[in-house]
Symmetry: C2
Subunit: 191 residues, 2 copies
Amino acid sequence: MLRSCVSLLRTPGVLCVPLGGASPLARDSWPLRSYSSEVAHRDHSLPNPSWSKDMRLIFDQFMKKSEDGSWKRLPSYKFISSKRLEEVKIFFPDSKPVKEEPLSQARLFPRSLEEGLGFEYAMFHNQVENRTVCILQGGPYLQGIPGFLHGGAIATMIDSTVGMCAVLTGGAVMTANLNINFRRLICKTGS
Amino acid sequence: MLRSCVSLLRTPGVLCVPLGGASPLARDSWPLRSYSSEVAHRDHSLPNPSWSKDMRLIFDQFMKKSEDGSWKRLPSYKFISSKRLEEVKIFFPDSKPVKEEPLSQARLFPRSLEEGLGFEYAMFHNQVENRTVCILQGGPYLQGIPGFLHGGAIATMIDSTVGMCAVLTGGAVMTANLNINFRRLICKTGS
């Protein structure tokens, strides 16, 4: 059971979601390394022209922290590896998609919108502290009330970050419960 | 505080989310009537060629129920009215977007993806029973694990449905807590 909340809003328009515990598990390798080598697509967790000055500032701060190896930037792709389907069978052995489709037609939901319009985000993980941080800039296509992010968009990024932290700690995971207390509105940025 | 769960999966690939209570409030008018007249755009809660047979079947069932006026289909648009900004001030009088932008650049998050790729959904409301039902077909751009919907996509539609039910019951609302128990995986459909 995963429980989280929107816990830190450092600058207007940029949400910073730090998640994790204090009981790291020893790991020999990071699962995303093998994932990145399998899928030859652009890594979207790097700065692009749509990023605001605030987004870039926080990104650079975490890149600075990554220089000594304590933090690591996690790559992120639009396309998803069919190998992850194996993880599903651990939890739901009888589940299968309605129909198979070429990998090129599948998109990871948080990367499904074009640059600057949807989720612009990057995640960093601290292996020793067992913590994952996501910095997010929400574009104009993520709105509920004009000017502010839809609650579902916030939930999407929290679910992604919690899930990533759990995967990096213990391998295959599935969210059973998502409990979010929305503390304040989050502005969209970008255009 | 809103609490909900994925409570009914009628057919493969189509999620049916019934939400509501048993204490309807009397209303003279439906807020979406005025909203639909303000925004001259296509109503996306009607069938399109990407809809599966199952999705269309359930839609037709609710349209049948709507013939006597007990249920009503709720229209839905990509573009959002700036008038909704007024509702924000009720809850957060000091909040405002980072910058103003033309209405044409803003998209309602659940309608931000192109036809057949993302959220294909329709909502129906029963005013007497104070219940809202959402039927959803998730496209290939909503995936987490290949073939299945991302938890954030499910949360988005639950938040939208709960919010719509609350708006139709009591006017301006804001989600304070979203607590979802994921009972099973939901297949994506469409291509």
